[in-house]
Protein backbone atom coordinates (compact mmCIF):
# COMPACT_ATOMS: atom_id res chain seq x y z
CA UNK A 1 0.00 0.00 0.00
CA UNK A 2 1.24 3.49 -0.83
CA UNK A 3 1.92 5.51 2.28
CA UNK A 4 2.91 8.59 0.30
CA UNK A 5 1.56 9.49 -3.12
CA UNK A 6 2.68 12.58 -5.03
CA UNK A 7 0.87 13.58 -8.19
CA UNK A 8 2.00 16.28 -10.64
CA UNK A 9 3.52 18.33 -7.85
CA UNK A 10 4.94 21.65 -9.06
CA UNK A 11 6.42 24.56 -7.15
CA UNK A 12 7.29 27.83 -8.87
CA UNK A 13 8.94 30.67 -6.96
CA UNK A 14 8.85 34.28 -8.05
CA UNK A 15 12.28 35.91 -7.98
CA UNK A 16 11.36 39.42 -6.93
CA UNK A 17 9.15 41.80 -8.90
CA UNK A 18 11.19 41.68 -12.13
CA UNK A 19 13.20 38.53 -11.41
CA UNK A 20 10.98 36.12 -13.31
CA UNK A 21 10.11 32.64 -12.13
CA UNK A 22 12.11 29.74 -10.76
CA UNK A 23 10.70 26.25 -11.09
CA UNK A 24 11.93 24.39 -7.99
CA UNK A 25 9.79 21.32 -8.65
CA UNK A 26 8.28 20.29 -11.95
CA UNK A 27 5.43 17.82 -12.29
CA UNK A 28 6.74 15.31 -9.75
CA UNK A 29 5.01 11.92 -9.56
CA UNK A 30 6.04 9.45 -6.90
CA UNK A 31 4.74 6.69 -4.67
CA UNK A 32 6.36 5.36 -1.52
CA UNK A 33 5.27 1.95 -0.27
CA UNK A 34 4.61 1.10 3.34
CA UNK A 35 7.61 -0.28 5.23
CA UNK A 36 10.29 0.64 2.71
CA UNK A 37 13.32 2.90 3.03
CA UNK A 38 13.01 5.27 0.13
CA UNK A 39 16.05 7.29 -0.93
CA UNK A 40 15.36 10.69 -2.39
CA UNK A 41 18.50 11.82 -4.17
CA UNK A 42 19.64 14.77 -6.16
CA UNK A 43 22.30 17.47 -6.30
CA UNK A 44 21.89 20.73 -4.40
CA UNK A 45 18.84 22.64 -5.63
CA UNK A 46 17.26 19.53 -7.15
CA UNK A 47 14.01 20.03 -5.25
CA UNK A 48 14.36 17.44 -2.48
CA UNK A 49 13.84 19.80 0.45
CA UNK A 50 11.14 21.65 -1.49
CA UNK A 51 9.22 18.36 -1.75
CA UNK A 52 9.54 17.68 1.98
CA UNK A 53 8.47 21.24 2.80
CA UNK A 54 5.36 20.84 0.67
CA UNK A 55 4.55 17.54 2.38
CA UNK A 56 4.78 19.25 5.77
CA UNK A 57 2.75 22.26 4.57
CA UNK A 58 5.69 24.56 5.30
CA UNK A 59 5.35 25.84 1.75
CA UNK A 60 2.40 25.49 -0.60
CA UNK A 61 2.51 23.83 -4.04
CA UNK A 62 1.82 25.89 -7.16
CA UNK A 63 -0.07 22.91 -8.56
CA UNK A 64 -0.45 19.19 -8.00
CA UNK A 65 -1.47 17.16 -5.02
CA UNK A 66 -0.02 14.74 -2.48
CA UNK A 67 -1.52 12.21 -0.13
CA UNK A 68 0.08 11.17 3.12
CA UNK A 69 -1.28 8.00 4.69
CA UNK A 70 -4.08 8.14 2.10
CA UNK A 71 -5.22 11.60 3.19
CA UNK A 72 -4.72 14.78 1.19
CA UNK A 73 -2.19 17.25 2.59
CA UNK A 74 -3.49 19.68 5.14
CA UNK A 75 -5.38 17.29 7.36
CA UNK A 76 -3.59 18.27 10.51
CA UNK A 77 -4.45 15.20 12.55
CA UNK A 78 -2.60 13.02 10.07
CA UNK A 79 0.60 14.89 10.77
CA UNK A 80 0.60 13.16 14.12
CA UNK A 81 1.77 10.01 12.38
CA UNK A 82 4.65 11.71 10.61
CA UNK A 83 8.09 12.34 12.02
CA UNK A 84 10.40 14.88 10.49
CA UNK A 85 14.04 15.68 10.99
CA UNK A 86 15.44 18.73 9.19
CA UNK A 87 18.84 18.96 7.51
CA UNK A 88 21.61 20.26 9.80
CA UNK A 89 19.22 20.58 12.71
CA UNK A 90 19.96 23.50 14.97
CA UNK A 91 17.72 22.97 17.91
CA UNK A 92 16.95 25.01 21.03
CA UNK A 93 20.45 25.30 22.46
CA UNK A 94 19.42 26.37 25.94
CA UNK A 95 17.19 23.38 26.60
CA UNK A 96 18.55 20.09 27.91
CA UNK A 97 18.11 17.04 25.68
CA UNK A 98 15.31 15.82 27.91
CA UNK A 99 13.51 19.19 27.91
CA UNK A 100 13.88 19.41 24.16
CA UNK A 101 12.17 16.09 23.44
CA UNK A 102 9.63 16.79 26.23
CA UNK A 103 8.62 19.93 24.37
CA UNK A 104 7.57 17.88 21.34
CA UNK A 105 5.92 15.22 23.49
CA UNK A 106 3.78 17.88 25.16
CA UNK A 107 3.09 19.51 21.80
CA UNK A 108 1.31 16.36 20.66
CA UNK A 109 -0.80 16.48 23.81
CA UNK A 110 0.84 13.97 26.15
CA UNK A 111 0.50 14.68 29.86
CA UNK A 112 3.64 15.24 31.90
CA UNK A 113 3.97 11.70 33.19
CA UNK A 114 3.37 9.99 29.82
CA UNK A 115 5.64 12.51 28.11
CA UNK A 116 8.45 11.81 30.57
CA UNK A 117 8.16 8.03 30.11
CA UNK A 118 8.12 8.39 26.33
CA UNK A 119 11.07 10.78 26.30
CA UNK A 120 13.17 8.49 28.50
CA UNK A 121 12.41 5.58 26.18
CA UNK A 122 13.28 7.58 23.06
CA UNK A 123 16.51 8.90 24.56
CA UNK A 124 17.38 5.31 25.36
CA UNK A 125 16.66 4.21 21.77
CA UNK A 126 18.92 6.91 20.30
CA UNK A 127 21.58 6.30 22.96
CA UNK A 128 21.42 9.68 24.64
CA UNK A 129 20.15 8.75 28.11
CA UNK A 130 23.55 9.63 29.57
CA UNK A 131 23.29 13.19 28.19
CA UNK A 132 19.65 13.95 28.92
CA UNK A 133 20.50 16.67 31.44
CA UNK A 134 23.07 18.30 29.15
CA UNK A 135 22.03 21.34 27.12
CA UNK A 136 21.59 20.72 23.39
CA UNK A 137 24.02 23.61 22.72
CA UNK A 138 26.79 21.48 24.24
CA UNK A 139 26.01 18.40 22.11
CA UNK A 140 28.34 17.18 19.35
CA UNK A 141 27.02 17.07 15.79
CA UNK A 142 26.31 13.35 16.06
CA UNK A 143 24.40 13.88 19.31
CA UNK A 144 22.35 16.69 17.72
CA UNK A 145 21.41 14.34 14.90
CA UNK A 146 20.41 11.65 17.39
CA UNK A 147 18.32 14.05 19.48
CA UNK A 148 16.72 15.18 16.20
CA UNK A 149 15.85 11.60 15.46
CA UNK A 150 14.38 11.19 18.97
CA UNK A 151 12.30 14.32 18.35
CA UNK A 152 11.03 12.93 15.07
CA UNK A 153 9.95 9.70 16.80
CA UNK A 154 7.83 11.40 19.46
CA UNK A 155 4.67 11.03 17.37
CA UNK A 156 5.38 7.31 17.00
CA UNK A 157 5.23 7.94 13.27
CA UNK A 158 4.42 5.45 10.57
CA UNK A 159 6.26 7.66 8.10
CA UNK A 160 9.58 9.34 8.85
CA UNK A 161 10.89 12.16 6.67
CA UNK A 162 14.65 12.48 7.19
CA UNK A 163 16.38 15.35 5.40
CA UNK A 164 20.12 14.63 5.08
CA UNK A 165 20.39 12.76 8.39
CA UNK A 166 24.08 11.89 7.81
CA UNK A 167 25.16 15.37 6.84
CA UNK A 168 28.33 16.46 8.63
CA UNK A 169 28.73 13.27 10.64
CA UNK A 170 31.99 11.36 11.04
CA UNK A 171 32.09 7.66 9.99
CA UNK A 172 31.18 6.47 13.49
CA UNK A 173 28.25 8.89 13.70
CA UNK A 174 27.05 7.80 10.25
CA UNK A 175 27.25 4.17 11.27
CA UNK A 176 25.19 4.85 14.40
CA UNK A 177 22.48 6.68 12.47
CA UNK A 178 22.46 3.97 9.81
CA UNK A 179 21.96 1.32 12.48
CA UNK A 180 19.13 3.35 13.99
CA UNK A 181 17.43 3.66 10.60
CA UNK A 182 17.66 -0.12 10.10
CA UNK A 183 16.13 -0.63 13.56
CA UNK A 184 13.27 1.71 12.63
CA UNK A 185 12.61 -0.25 9.44
CA UNK A 186 12.47 -3.43 11.54
CA UNK A 187 9.75 -1.70 13.55
CA UNK A 188 7.76 -1.45 10.27
CA UNK A 189 8.28 2.26 9.85
CA UNK A 190 8.47 3.78 6.38
CA UNK A 191 11.47 6.03 5.91
CA UNK A 192 11.69 8.73 3.26
CA UNK A 193 15.28 9.66 3.25
CA UNK A 194 17.07 12.55 1.47
CA UNK A 195 20.82 12.22 1.29
CA UNK A 196 23.95 13.24 -0.51
CA UNK A 197 25.93 10.38 0.99
CA UNK A 198 25.29 7.80 -1.65
CA UNK A 199 27.20 4.96 0.00
CA UNK A 200 24.67 5.13 2.87
CA UNK A 201 21.74 5.27 0.46
CA UNK A 202 23.08 2.22 -1.37
CA UNK A 203 23.37 0.30 1.89
CA UNK A 204 20.02 1.34 3.33
CA UNK A 205 17.45 2.05 0.67
CA UNK A 206 15.02 -0.36 -0.95
CA UNK A 207 14.17 2.09 -3.72
CA UNK A 208 15.55 5.42 -4.82
CA UNK A 209 14.36 8.36 -6.85
CA UNK A 210 16.83 10.74 -8.45
CA UNK A 211 15.79 14.31 -8.87
CA UNK A 212 17.56 16.97 -10.90
CA UNK A 213 16.51 20.57 -11.44
CA UNK A 214 13.09 19.84 -10.02
CA UNK A 215 12.41 16.84 -12.27
CA UNK A 216 12.37 13.14 -11.52
CA UNK A 217 14.98 11.52 -13.74
CA UNK A 218 15.12 7.96 -12.33
CA UNK A 219 13.09 5.76 -10.04
CA UNK A 220 13.71 2.15 -9.09
CA UNK A 221 15.37 -0.27 -6.71
CA UNK A 222 19.10 0.21 -6.11
CA UNK A 223 19.63 -3.13 -7.85
CA UNK A 224 17.70 -2.06 -10.95
CA UNK A 225 19.54 1.21 -11.26
CA UNK A 226 22.97 -0.33 -10.86
CA UNK A 227 22.34 -3.24 -13.24
CA UNK A 228 21.23 -0.79 -15.90
CA UNK A 229 24.69 0.79 -15.99
CA UNK A 230 27.70 -0.55 -17.93
CA UNK A 231 29.48 -3.44 -16.18
CA UNK A 232 33.20 -3.62 -15.56
CA UNK A 233 35.40 -6.68 -15.12
CA UNK A 234 38.55 -6.92 -13.04
CA UNK A 235 41.16 -9.59 -13.87
CA UNK A 236 44.21 -9.86 -11.60
CA UNK A 237 47.42 -11.96 -11.84
CA UNK A 238 50.72 -12.44 -10.12
CA UNK A 239 53.90 -13.89 -11.65
CA UNK A 240 53.02 -12.12 -14.91
CA UNK A 241 56.04 -12.05 -17.24
CA UNK A 242 56.85 -8.50 -18.26
CA UNK A 243 56.95 -9.37 -21.98
CA UNK A 244 53.23 -10.21 -21.82
CA UNK A 245 52.34 -6.79 -20.48
CA UNK A 246 52.21 -4.65 -23.69
CA UNK A 247 49.71 -6.94 -25.42
CA UNK A 248 47.45 -7.12 -22.37
CA UNK A 249 47.59 -3.35 -21.90
CA UNK A 250 46.31 -2.80 -25.45
CA UNK A 251 43.20 -4.88 -24.66
CA UNK A 252 42.52 -3.51 -21.16
CA UNK A 253 40.96 -0.17 -20.43
CA UNK A 254 43.24 0.32 -17.47
CA UNK A 255 46.09 -1.48 -15.77
CA UNK A 256 47.57 -1.18 -12.30
CA UNK A 257 50.64 -2.85 -10.84
CA UNK A 258 50.31 -2.98 -7.07
CA UNK A 259 53.23 -4.78 -5.38
CA UNK A 260 53.65 -7.16 -8.31
CA UNK A 261 49.94 -7.93 -8.62
CA UNK A 262 48.64 -6.81 -12.00
CA UNK A 263 45.01 -5.63 -12.15
CA UNK A 264 43.34 -5.20 -15.56
CA UNK A 265 39.96 -3.50 -15.98
CA UNK A 266 37.80 -4.09 -19.08
CA UNK A 267 34.24 -3.24 -20.07
CA UNK A 268 33.02 -6.63 -21.37
CA UNK A 269 33.37 -10.31 -20.45
CA UNK A 270 34.90 -11.29 -23.82
CA UNK A 271 37.88 -8.99 -23.31
CA UNK A 272 38.22 -10.20 -19.72
CA UNK A 273 38.38 -13.83 -20.92
CA UNK A 274 40.87 -12.94 -23.61
CA UNK A 275 43.19 -11.26 -21.08
CA UNK A 276 42.89 -14.25 -18.76
CA UNK A 277 43.75 -16.73 -21.53
CA UNK A 278 46.73 -14.73 -22.81
CA UNK A 279 48.20 -14.21 -19.37
CA UNK A 280 47.74 -17.80 -18.28
CA UNK A 281 49.36 -18.97 -21.52
CA UNK A 282 52.43 -17.04 -20.30
CA UNK A 283 52.28 -18.95 -16.98
CA UNK A 284 50.84 -16.08 -14.96
CA UNK A 285 48.72 -17.05 -11.92
CA UNK A 286 45.11 -15.88 -12.17
CA UNK A 287 44.15 -14.67 -8.71
CA UNK A 288 40.96 -12.76 -9.39
CA UNK A 289 38.31 -12.64 -12.12
CA UNK A 290 35.22 -10.71 -11.15
CA UNK A 291 32.57 -8.42 -12.57
CA UNK A 292 32.48 -5.06 -10.82
CA UNK A 293 29.17 -3.39 -10.39
CA UNK A 294 29.30 0.40 -10.47
CA UNK A 295 28.44 2.19 -7.27
CA UNK A 296 25.33 4.28 -6.82
CA UNK A 297 27.66 7.26 -6.84
CA UNK A 298 28.93 6.34 -10.34
CA UNK A 299 25.35 5.93 -11.48
CA UNK A 300 24.25 9.19 -9.88
CA UNK A 301 27.10 11.21 -11.40
CA UNK A 302 26.44 9.67 -14.83
CA UNK A 303 22.67 10.22 -14.74
CA UNK A 304 22.78 13.73 -13.36
CA UNK A 305 25.60 14.55 -15.79
CA UNK A 306 23.57 13.46 -18.81
CA UNK A 307 20.69 15.69 -17.70
CA UNK A 308 22.85 18.80 -17.30
Amino acid sequence: MSILRIQNLTKVYSKGVFGGKFRALNDLNLEVEEGEIFGFLGPNGAGKTTTIKILLRIIFPTSGQAWLLNKPLGELSELHKIGYMPENPYFYRFLTGQEFVMFYAKLIGLNHEDARKKVDRLLDIVGLSYAKKTRVGEYSKGMVTRIGLAQSLVTDPTLLLLDEPMSGLDPIGRREIRDLIVQLKEQKKTIFFCSHILADVEMLCDRVAILNKGELIKLGTVQELLSSGPAKYIVSFDNLPLEALPELQTIADSHQDISGIHHFTVNNPEEAHKIAELAMAKNANLIEFRPERGTLEDYFVREVGTHE
Partner: protein
Protein backbone atom coordinates in the same frame (compact mmCIF):
# COMPACT_ATOMS: atom_id res chain seq x y z
CA UNK B 1 -4.63 26.15 23.98
CA UNK B 2 -2.36 23.39 25.24
CA UNK B 3 -0.12 23.69 22.17
CA UNK B 4 0.04 27.50 22.50
CA UNK B 5 0.96 27.19 26.16
CA UNK B 6 3.63 24.54 25.41
CA UNK B 7 5.21 26.78 22.75
CA UNK B 8 4.97 29.81 25.09
CA UNK B 9 6.68 27.98 27.94
CA UNK B 10 9.40 26.77 25.61
CA UNK B 11 9.94 30.31 24.30
CA UNK B 12 10.12 31.63 27.85
CA UNK B 13 12.61 28.93 28.92
CA UNK B 14 14.83 29.59 25.91
CA UNK B 15 14.69 33.37 26.38
CA UNK B 16 15.45 33.45 30.11
CA UNK B 17 18.41 31.11 29.63
CA UNK B 18 19.80 33.31 26.87
CA UNK B 19 22.74 35.49 27.82
CA UNK B 20 20.96 38.56 26.42
CA UNK B 21 18.37 38.26 29.18
CA UNK B 22 21.05 38.43 31.86
CA UNK B 23 22.98 41.20 30.14
CA UNK B 24 19.85 43.36 29.98
CA UNK B 25 18.94 42.48 33.59
CA UNK B 26 22.44 43.32 34.83
CA UNK B 27 22.40 46.66 32.99
CA UNK B 28 19.04 47.46 34.57
CA UNK B 29 20.41 46.61 38.02
CA UNK B 30 23.46 48.81 37.40
CA UNK B 31 21.14 51.64 36.44
CA UNK B 32 19.07 51.12 39.61
CA UNK B 33 22.27 51.23 41.65
CA UNK B 34 23.30 54.36 39.75
CA UNK B 35 20.05 56.01 40.83
CA UNK B 36 21.19 55.54 44.45
CA UNK B 37 24.47 57.34 43.74
CA UNK B 38 22.61 60.18 42.08
CA UNK B 39 20.17 60.32 44.98
CA UNK B 40 22.99 60.79 47.50
CA UNK B 41 24.44 63.58 45.36
CA UNK B 42 21.17 65.48 44.90
CA UNK B 43 20.22 66.50 48.40
CA UNK B 44 16.53 66.32 49.17
CA UNK B 45 15.64 64.92 45.74
CA UNK B 46 16.31 61.26 46.64
CA UNK B 47 12.74 60.10 46.19
CA UNK B 48 12.26 61.74 42.79
CA UNK B 49 15.63 60.62 41.41
CA UNK B 50 15.33 57.01 42.52
CA UNK B 51 11.80 56.71 41.12
CA UNK B 52 12.60 58.57 37.90
CA UNK B 53 15.78 56.66 37.10
CA UNK B 54 14.27 53.39 38.32
CA UNK B 55 11.13 53.65 36.20
CA UNK B 56 13.17 54.83 33.19
CA UNK B 57 15.43 51.78 33.57
CA UNK B 58 12.40 49.48 33.67
CA UNK B 59 10.94 51.22 30.59
CA UNK B 60 14.14 51.16 28.54
CA UNK B 61 15.12 47.60 29.33
CA UNK B 62 11.60 46.29 28.98
CA UNK B 63 11.40 47.92 25.57
CA UNK B 64 14.85 46.64 24.52
CA UNK B 65 13.91 43.13 25.52
CA UNK B 66 10.50 43.19 23.83
CA UNK B 67 11.96 44.58 20.62
CA UNK B 68 15.24 42.65 20.37
CA UNK B 69 14.09 39.30 21.67
CA UNK B 70 10.71 39.69 19.93
CA UNK B 71 11.93 40.46 16.44
CA UNK B 72 14.35 37.52 16.53
CA UNK B 73 11.94 34.95 17.86
CA UNK B 74 10.06 34.07 14.69
CA UNK B 75 13.02 34.74 12.40
CA UNK B 76 15.30 32.38 14.31
CA UNK B 77 12.73 29.62 14.28
CA UNK B 78 12.55 29.96 10.50
CA UNK B 79 16.32 30.23 10.06
CA UNK B 80 17.05 27.23 12.24
CA UNK B 81 14.07 25.36 10.80
CA UNK B 82 12.77 24.44 14.24
CA UNK B 83 9.39 25.78 13.09
CA UNK B 84 9.25 22.88 10.60
CA UNK B 85 9.45 20.34 13.38
CA UNK B 86 6.82 22.22 15.40
CA UNK B 87 4.43 22.25 12.45
CA UNK B 88 5.23 18.59 11.73
CA UNK B 89 4.21 17.87 15.33
CA UNK B 90 0.72 19.06 14.55
CA UNK B 91 0.76 22.67 15.76
CA UNK B 92 -0.84 25.18 13.41
CA UNK B 93 0.88 28.35 12.31
CA UNK B 94 -1.50 30.47 14.37
CA UNK B 95 -0.79 28.37 17.48
CA UNK B 96 2.93 28.81 16.81
CA UNK B 97 2.66 32.59 16.50
CA UNK B 98 0.38 32.97 19.53
CA UNK B 99 2.71 30.76 21.56
CA UNK B 100 5.67 32.90 20.53
CA UNK B 101 3.81 36.07 21.52
CA UNK B 102 2.76 34.66 24.88
CA UNK B 103 6.29 33.39 25.59
CA UNK B 104 7.77 36.76 24.67
CA UNK B 105 5.30 38.63 26.84
CA UNK B 106 5.96 36.27 29.76
CA UNK B 107 9.71 36.90 29.40
CA UNK B 108 9.31 40.68 29.26
CA UNK B 109 6.76 40.67 32.08
CA UNK B 110 9.11 38.58 34.26
CA UNK B 111 11.86 41.09 33.57
CA UNK B 112 9.61 44.08 34.34
CA UNK B 113 8.24 42.47 37.50
CA UNK B 114 11.68 41.56 38.85
CA UNK B 115 12.95 45.09 38.19
CA UNK B 116 9.73 46.50 39.66
CA UNK B 117 10.19 44.43 42.82
CA UNK B 118 13.78 45.63 43.15
CA UNK B 119 12.73 49.24 42.69
CA UNK B 120 9.95 48.77 45.25
CA UNK B 121 12.43 47.26 47.72
CA UNK B 122 14.77 50.15 47.06
CA UNK B 123 12.19 52.83 47.81
CA UNK B 124 10.97 50.96 50.91
CA UNK B 125 14.43 50.69 52.42
CA UNK B 126 15.76 54.09 51.32
CA UNK B 127 15.19 56.50 54.23
CA UNK B 128 14.00 59.49 52.20
CA UNK B 129 11.76 57.53 49.87
CA UNK B 130 8.56 55.51 50.12
CA UNK B 131 6.52 53.00 48.15
CA UNK B 132 3.45 54.69 46.72
CA UNK B 133 0.40 53.06 45.15
CA UNK B 134 1.14 55.18 42.10
CA UNK B 135 4.52 53.49 41.61
CA UNK B 136 2.83 50.08 41.61
CA UNK B 137 0.21 51.44 39.20
CA UNK B 138 2.99 52.73 36.89
CA UNK B 139 4.58 49.26 36.75
CA UNK B 140 1.15 47.67 36.19
CA UNK B 141 0.41 50.08 33.31
CA UNK B 142 3.85 49.52 31.81
CA UNK B 143 3.10 45.80 31.53
CA UNK B 144 0.23 46.62 29.16
CA UNK B 145 2.43 48.93 27.10
CA UNK B 146 4.88 46.03 26.79
CA UNK B 147 2.05 43.73 25.72
CA UNK B 148 1.39 46.06 22.78
CA UNK B 149 5.10 46.37 21.94
CA UNK B 150 5.44 42.55 21.98
CA UNK B 151 2.46 42.26 19.59
CA UNK B 152 4.01 44.92 17.31
CA UNK B 153 7.37 43.06 17.32
CA UNK B 154 5.68 39.73 16.55
CA UNK B 155 3.62 41.33 13.77
CA UNK B 156 6.68 42.78 12.03
CA UNK B 157 8.77 39.66 12.53
CA UNK B 158 6.01 37.56 10.93
CA UNK B 159 6.85 39.03 7.53
CA UNK B 160 10.10 40.97 7.83
CA UNK B 161 13.79 40.62 8.74
CA UNK B 162 14.94 41.18 12.35
CA UNK B 163 16.73 44.48 11.61
CA UNK B 164 13.78 45.99 9.75
CA UNK B 165 11.38 44.61 12.36
CA UNK B 166 13.42 46.19 15.17
CA UNK B 167 13.49 49.56 13.37
CA UNK B 168 9.75 49.44 12.69
CA UNK B 169 9.00 48.37 16.28
CA UNK B 170 11.02 51.27 17.69
CA UNK B 171 9.34 53.66 15.27
CA UNK B 172 5.91 52.44 16.34
CA UNK B 173 6.91 52.81 19.99
CA UNK B 174 8.07 56.40 19.41
CA UNK B 175 4.98 57.30 17.39
CA UNK B 176 2.85 55.58 20.04
CA UNK B 177 4.23 57.98 22.62
CA UNK B 178 3.66 60.99 20.38
CA UNK B 179 0.21 60.15 19.05
CA UNK B 180 -1.43 62.62 21.49
CA UNK B 181 0.63 65.34 19.75
CA UNK B 182 -0.85 64.20 16.45
CA UNK B 183 -4.34 64.85 17.79
CA UNK B 184 -3.27 68.25 19.05
CA UNK B 185 -1.80 69.04 15.64
CA UNK B 186 -5.06 67.96 13.96
CA UNK B 187 -6.99 70.26 16.31
CA UNK B 188 -4.81 73.23 15.38
CA UNK B 189 -5.08 72.44 11.68
CA UNK B 190 -8.88 72.34 12.02
CA UNK B 191 -8.76 75.74 13.69
CA UNK B 192 -6.69 77.08 10.80
CA UNK B 193 -9.25 75.77 8.30
CA UNK B 194 -7.40 72.66 6.99
CA UNK B 195 -10.33 70.38 7.82
CA UNK B 196 -9.32 67.64 5.33
CA UNK B 197 -5.79 67.24 6.68
CA UNK B 198 -7.08 67.49 10.24
CA UNK B 199 -9.51 64.62 9.59
CA UNK B 200 -6.76 62.57 7.98
CA UNK B 201 -4.49 63.04 11.02
CA UNK B 202 -7.36 62.20 13.35
CA UNK B 203 -7.98 58.92 11.48
CA UNK B 204 -4.27 58.09 11.70
CA UNK B 205 -4.36 58.88 15.42
CA UNK B 206 -7.06 56.28 15.94
CA UNK B 207 -5.09 53.66 13.98
CA UNK B 208 -1.81 54.20 15.84
CA UNK B 209 -1.30 52.75 19.29
CA UNK B 210 -1.57 55.30 22.05
CA UNK B 211 1.25 54.27 24.37
CA UNK B 212 1.54 57.53 26.28
CA UNK B 213 -1.50 56.65 28.38
CA UNK B 214 0.61 53.89 29.95
CA UNK B 215 3.37 56.32 30.97
CA UNK B 216 2.82 57.41 34.56
CA UNK B 217 6.44 58.32 35.26
CA UNK B 218 5.85 62.06 35.72
CA UNK B 219 2.82 61.46 37.89
CA UNK B 220 4.86 59.13 40.13
CA UNK B 221 7.87 61.43 40.35
CA UNK B 222 5.96 64.72 40.85
CA UNK B 223 3.01 63.18 42.74
CA UNK B 224 0.55 64.41 40.11
CA UNK B 225 -3.05 63.30 39.80
CA UNK B 226 -3.55 60.50 37.24
CA UNK B 227 -7.24 61.13 36.68
CA UNK B 228 -9.71 58.25 36.50
CA UNK B 229 -8.55 55.14 38.36
CA UNK B 230 -11.18 53.11 36.52
CA UNK B 231 -9.63 54.07 33.18
CA UNK B 232 -6.19 53.03 34.37
CA UNK B 233 -7.24 49.80 35.98
CA UNK B 234 -9.77 48.66 33.37
CA UNK B 235 -10.19 50.72 30.19
CA UNK B 236 -6.55 51.20 29.19
CA UNK B 237 -5.64 47.54 29.87
CA UNK B 238 -8.66 46.40 27.81
CA UNK B 239 -7.56 48.78 25.02
CA UNK B 240 -4.08 47.16 25.12
CA UNK B 241 -5.55 43.67 24.99
CA UNK B 242 -7.86 44.50 22.05
CA UNK B 243 -5.15 46.38 20.15
CA UNK B 244 -2.68 43.48 20.67
CA UNK B 245 -5.32 40.96 19.58
CA UNK B 246 -5.93 42.89 16.35
CA UNK B 247 -2.19 43.04 15.63
CA UNK B 248 -1.88 39.31 16.28
CA UNK B 249 -4.79 38.53 13.96
CA UNK B 250 -3.06 40.51 11.20
CA UNK B 251 0.21 38.69 11.98
CA UNK B 252 -1.54 35.29 11.80
CA UNK B 253 -3.19 36.18 8.48
CA UNK B 254 0.16 37.21 7.00
CA UNK B 255 1.93 34.18 8.46
CA UNK B 256 -0.58 31.49 7.59
CA UNK B 257 -0.21 31.70 3.79
CA UNK B 258 3.48 32.49 3.79
CA UNK B 259 5.99 30.14 2.14
CA UNK B 260 8.81 29.60 4.63
CA UNK B 261 12.23 29.56 3.00
Amino acid sequence: MNKIWTIALNTYKEAVRNKIFYIIAVFALVLLAFSLILATLALGEDDRIIKHVGLSAINIFGLLMAAFVGVNLVYEELEKRTVYTIIASGASRSQFLLGKFLGLFMTVAANVLIMGLLLSALVIFWPQSNLSALLIMAIYMFLFEMMMVCAIAILFSSFSTPVLSAVLTFMCWMIGHMSEDLLEWARRLAEQGSAGLAKFLTVIYYFLPNLEIYNLKNQVVYHEDIGSIFYHVMVYPVYAIIYSAILLIIAILSFSRRDFK
